[in-house]
């Protein structure tokens, strides 16, 4: 019997719970936590979701195991059909993509993400780039952000390099306000912007202004942990909750889906040892 779970499993469960039933949901590539969250949701509370796999664009695949790279035929196994790059992005542009998972090497208070370049105006560090995030962050109805690298430890000089930054050097994925503070609504995009951010320190939602707001903590993290790792003044909901662990069945499912533990590549070594008790009060899914 499974008595505890890992941080990765906690994050996957928290991300999975942001998915609504009947949504068409897409993950990009290089995002095993999001991939697993989608497969968990599809097999628990969101059985009618349309799961579109990143890179292969397969519809509702049932991969035998998670692969280290995303565009692998394994990931396409069992798909009932396959879209192409045109159709997938058209779906989003027409407002049919219910949810997308996005991340960034920098994420600001409005949910803008940067995965393009660090350093401005000169490129000090070239990041891989955002794939279709620049488009999908505008078009997807709802966005769940995640990062497993929120914690900003002090370096040798006592400075912190924040993941949750005051402002992004480059806005790859649009959040609720652009670099000039112009609200997203002014652009008339199809999508409504980030709804949640799941990090290894906590869970955030966004307030009416579109500002990020701490909504829940892990059993082993504190408001102070979050504040000191966040590069802007924290907003906090009235009643901060505790992130619920996955059910035993969900943990079992994650371990079955990811025997190679690909998702742990996203997690920092220090966080790999974190464990959370599973006190299963929810009914296990059939």
């Amino acid at each position: 019997m499974i008595a505890s779970c890992t941080l990765g499993e906690m994050m996957i469960a928290a991300m999975a719970r942001t998915i609504g039933d009947g949504e068409l949901v897409f993950h990009g590539f290089g995002s095993p936590l999001a991939q697993l969250a989608m497969h968990v949701a599809k097999r628990s509370q969101a059985r009618r979701m349309v799961l579109i796999a990143g890179a292969t664009y397969g519809v509702d695949p049932a991969p035998r195991f998670l692969t280290p790279t995303t565009n692998d035929w394994v990931m396409d196994c069992g798909a009932s059909s396959s879209l192409d790059i045109e159709e997938l992005f058209d779906l989003a542009a027409a407002g049919r993509m219910g949810r997308m998972f996005l991340s960034g090497l920098q994420i600001d208070r409005w949910g803008n993400c940067n995965v393009t370049t660090l350093g401005t105006p000169r490129t000090a560090m070239k990041l891989p780039g955002g794939g279709g995030g620049g488009n999908l962050s505008c078009d997807a109805q709802r966005v769940t952000l995640w990062t497993p690298a929120h914690r900003a430890e002090r370096d040798a000089k006592g400075r912190r390099r924040f993941r949750l930054v005051e402002s992004c050097d480059f806005i790859t994925n649009l959040g609720h306000r652009d670099a000039d503070g112009r609200p997203r609504q002014d652009y008339g995009h199809q999508g409504n912007g980030p709804e949640y951010l799941v990090t290894e320190l906590g869970l955030f939602d966004f307030d009416a202004e579109g500002h990020m707001r701490l909504a829940a903590l892990y059993p082993d993290t504190s408001l102070g942990d979050v504040q000191e790792s966040t590069g802007f003044a924290l907003r906090v909901v009235n009643c901060v909750e505790t992130i619920a662990p996955p059910t035993r069945a969900e943990v079992k499912l994650i371990r079955l889906l990811d025997p190679l533990k690909i998702h742990e590549k996203e997690i920092r070594p220090a966080d790999l040892v974190r464990r959370f008790d599973i006190v299963d009060t929810r009914k296990e899914p059939a």
């Binding site: 590539f29 035929w73 505008c138």
Partner: protein, 319 residues
């Protein structure tokens, strides 16, 4: 934008050698590299381009990895308009790509997948631009002053207009092709169908050249022959990326590549480029250099079942 009519290719025998294909790419061309991430990238053709000493290329594409990283290492690029270049969670950032773009040797001109799709569609439709709604509010509009805005005469809303993108040449690796140039792509076509339609010249390598009858009987996306300029039968032509059903992603070779690339440009030159690109005179010699039939058999073993497939990706297998 396309001011004149687009070419079609109707020669009855388009088979050429890999080096002949490489000779059809010019310095400073805008190049669309097919496939994506760890799958079906035209690696043999890219190695042939590097051996030829090509330079000044602009690359356009969606999500790529070792292909663009290798072109950066070989000094072939002057501008990157890719949407993503990296090794995903598997090995992380692309070291040669980073060096080339951070040093300024290669201009940072990132794009996004749908922007690319719409720009290619404009070329395919003979239009000067295509509208999109997205991207406004991001930093891409500042990076791309060529985008324009318009007020929609139907709705009054603001739209972004992205100009037609007509690559000079598309480089595509497909599973099958016939002499006339019909290509079959099995599995995700990524942007290859769009590249084939939008580009002025389409050069293809294929695992197998088969008859038109055999092609017709196969399931998969078809690129009709008249888009294709020339093709070469190049088995293992996507290695170390995957070309199912022939072979899986060679994670072991990619680990070796990435380890060398992480060190330094100089180390990558001696440890990788000299060993696998400049030091081998042909694709056949490359296949030998990576282990010949044994490697071929190892990478074909994915078909033996889930356990065999998984075994290819175990960290222990990467040594």
């Amino acid at each position: 934008m396309p001011s004149t009519s687009r070419p079609i290719y109707t020669e009855t025998n388009k088979r050429r050698s890999l080096d002949e294909l490489a000779a059809m790419v010019s310095n400073d061309a805008i190049v669309a590299v097919g496939g994506g991430l760890s799958s079906r990238e035209p690696m043999a053709l890219l190695r042939a381009l590097l051996r030829k000493g090509l330079s000044g290329l602009t690359v356009v594409g969606s999500a790529h990895g070792i292909d663009i990283d290798l072109l950066c290492a070989g000094g072939a690029l002057s501008r990157s308009c890719e949407s993503y270049v990296g090794f995903e969670q598997d090995f992380g950032l692309a070291p040669n790509y980073r060096r080339a773009l951070e040093s300024g040797a290669v201009e940072v001109n990132d794009s996004c997948c749908y922007t690319l799709v719409q720009q290619l569609r404009a070329a395919i439709q003979g239009l000067p631009f295509m509208p999109i709604r997205s991207l406004r509010g991001t930093s891409f509009t500042a990076l791309h002053p060529e985008y324009k805005r318009m007020t929609c005469p139907f709705t009054g809303e603001e739209l972004l207009l992205v100009p037609a993108l007509e690559p000079d040449v598309a480089l595509i690796h497909a599973q099958y092709g016939d002499e006339r140039g019909n290509l079959i792509i099995q599995g995700p076509p990524v942007a290859d169908l769009l590249f084939a339609r939008a580009s002025r010249v389409v050069l293809a390598t294929v695992e197998k050249i088969v008859s038109t009858e055999a092609l017709r009987a196969m399931q998969g996306a078809v690129i009709p022959y008249f888009y294709v300029t020339a093709l070469s039968g190049t088995p293992m032509g996507a290695h170390p990326t995957a070309c199912y059903p022939f072979y899986a992603y060679d994670r072991r070779h990619t680990a070796l590549y990435h380890a060398a690339a992480r060190e330094s440009a100089a180390d990558f030159k001696t440890q990788y480029l000299d060993a696998f690109v400049y030091g081998v005179s042909s694709h056949e010699a490359y296949i030998e250099s990576i282990g010949g039939d044994a490697t071929r058999a190892r990478l074909a073993s994915w078909a033996d079942g889930d356990d065999a497939w998984m075994r290819l990706y175990l960290d222990e297998a990467v040594a």
